[in-house]
Symmetry: C2
Subunit: 352 residues, 2 copies
DNA sequence: AGTCATATTGTTATCGATATCAGTTTCCAA
DNA sequence: TTGGAAACTGATATCGATAACAATATGACT
């Protein structure tokens, strides 16, 4: 390890305590114009002569002026951002959705502020409250389960709301998503068509992850409807369950129901864990046991065997949700259609 | 009852005289106190009698009042948040760092605003600019490479800055990180001690990912110093290179230098891709070829064979960086020590 | 009683920008 | 020449909260 002393001698720290930071008035003085003209020069639509604008931009540069958005939005009553809350920072599905949102917002002049709920409606409530204090112009949520208080705040806020990734029974405002239970049921049917009969399901322990619960419900329903019930369910670990929990859960599954011939997992990550664990135990996948996931993560397409899964249009969810939000913010009137269903596709591969 | 209200001429708005959102003044009126008292009641430290506070909270609830932070921070000159910029939203290393930051900020009364640079200093510059317009009380950056303009803005901002994940030659302010080149060199030496002699390296094509470049430099230097040079380098794909690029890169490596006996990858994800590709081609890992990664992602501990890698203390980086920031924000004077080195550990497993 | 500390609440003056409307200049058509 | 639209710029009044100081009440202590 390098024990070399840092050469902190170069320059001074970032603390420039001497001068108070310049305001727009300083810039205006420097450029010999009024603050209003400075304000206009700094907006792209401001009608200011080229000459004046140049002088102002020089002043801005010279003084190192940085606009104060707090003051600006207080005055203009527009904050220029929308909020999006997702369960997890480190999940490629949700990050795809975030990308979709960002892309859709690209030329709208709106920024995205992301918040992480950690799969908890309580944290979501707190986040909503603190987001609302910053006055977003719209808000995108993941899922349709919220605390009553959260729901109330959103309804009172008067801003457009889009719930995503689920189809809530009683939507707050707009919805962009798919039926988790129906998608999972489709996967069950596809696997039944391949000849599997003894179905197992692996997911997290609690109801925290509502999408997980919905998937489990869809699993159970479909297995029942096919006359193959009851489905075998192992709940293990606090959502989001990851590779390790998938591995541990499949062990429980095999202990309890050794003859299970296919295991569906709440996500690809847990499916991968289950797959690795089975292989570690010398089981053939498929053959001794089949495994399927959910979400079509990159890993599923590259491991051996490749994992059968469901692709849900994560990016599209984000893009559509943000588009819907923009429409509501700008157009004002909702175009009637409050619910947008997104597509999905069962992807059959070697693991099941 | 309302005759004592200030002649504010409320409800003069063109359209909705009734539905305009309540302000603190409305709450004050409703509770029969001044706005100042309402303001105090809504802060935890506000000295207000229990009786009054209760009445005010009732009014808040009744009116559905939500504090406007823009107005608050304009007045108080405190925004109550810090910014952190990380390269990628979907990378468990950086999300661990983000968790560390969040945890350290827990009881500070400061919120975290996360931004994503997508490994681009240009995007970073834009993000810094827009963050600065919201007046964060401090800022945490990933890496030590920034555009000159970005650097200038940060230095002029007057707020504390912490650069992380690297040891910049010329730090802006504070630094919390490790030497990527030295860590990679350590990995090379550990593998040389295991008997490997023909070293290959897989990373992204461009200099966008400075940490990747530093790792490559450390690799080349160490191989040279061991008298095993020159190291074999394959650059493939735009950073962050992922599973698929790792797989493709190892193919190039094997075509160009078929006798390579160990391949080091810029990250565990690419290492996993390389591993899968080698297995697909019927090669034994290790045996025919050894593979190592960087970052100790969960996947490396669960695949077969488990991947040799380096664990860098991602969470600790975040925690220490935020701690340092708090110190600078509150304590004011920097405690002299501007550089914090974080620990790391080579983790030898079966893949190499 | 008188003085003073403490607790509670109110008044006033901003914080730094922008909306709005008014004033000025430019330039072209009649 | 002149009216008048178009382009540009400025003065003023907020936006909604909080800091700082002032005022009042209460009770304790000398």
């Amino acid at each position: 390890m390098a024990d070399k002393a840092p050469d902190k001698a170069r320059g001074k720290g970032a603390h420039d305590a001497s001068a108070t930071k310049p305001t727009m008035a300083d810039v205006a003085d420097y450029a010999g114009v009024s603050t209003m003209t400075v304000s206009r020069a700094l907006k792209k639509d401001g009608r200011v002569s080229e000459d004046t604008r140049k002088r102002i931009l020089e002043a801005v540069d010279k003084l190192g002026y940085v606009l104060d958005q707090a003051a600006g939005s207080l005055s203009s009553r527009r904050t220029g951002f929308v909020a999006a809350l997702v369960p997890s920072i480190n999940n490629s599905n949700f990050s795809d959705t975030a990308r979709g949102i960002t892309d859709a917002l690209e030329n709208s002049g709106l920024q995205l502020l992301l918040g992480y709920t950690d799969y908890s409606t309580e944290k979501e409530e707190k986040l909503i409250q603190s987001m609302l204090q910053r006055r977003p112009e719209g808000i995108i949520l993941t899922g349709g389960s919220h605390t009553p208080q959260a729901r109330r705040m959103l309804e009172k806020s008067g801003i457009p709301v889009v719930e995503t990734w689920e189809i809530p029974e009683d939507p707050i405002d707009h919805v962009v998503g798919f039926s988790n239970s129906e998608v999972m049921a489709d996967l069950v049917r596809a696997l039944a068509a391949r000849g599997y009969r003894k179905f197992g399901y692996i997911g997290g322990t609690t109801a925290r992850d509502t999408r997980g619960s919905l998937r489990r419900a869809g699993f159970l329903k479909a297995v029942e409807e096919l006359g193959l019930g009851p489905g075998r369910v192992i709940s293990f670990g606090v959502p989001p369950i990851s590779i390790e929990q998938g591995a541990q859960a499949v062990v429980s599954m095999l202990e309890r129901w050794p003859d299970t011939d296919v295991v569906l997992c709440v996500s690809d990550l847990s499916a991968f864990g289950a797959l690795m664990e089975c292989q570690r135990r010398g089981m053939k996948v498929p053959g001794d046991i089949a495994i399927a996931g959910f979400g079509d993560y990159e890993i599923s397409a590259f491991c051996h065997p490749r994992i059968t899964t469901v692709n849900v249009d994560c990016y599209g969810i984000g893009k559509l949700a943000a588009g819907r939000l923009l429409q509501a913010i700008n157009g004002g009137g909702s175009a009637g259609d409050e619910l947008t269903l997104t597509s999905y596709k069962v992807i059959l591969r070697e693991s099941a």
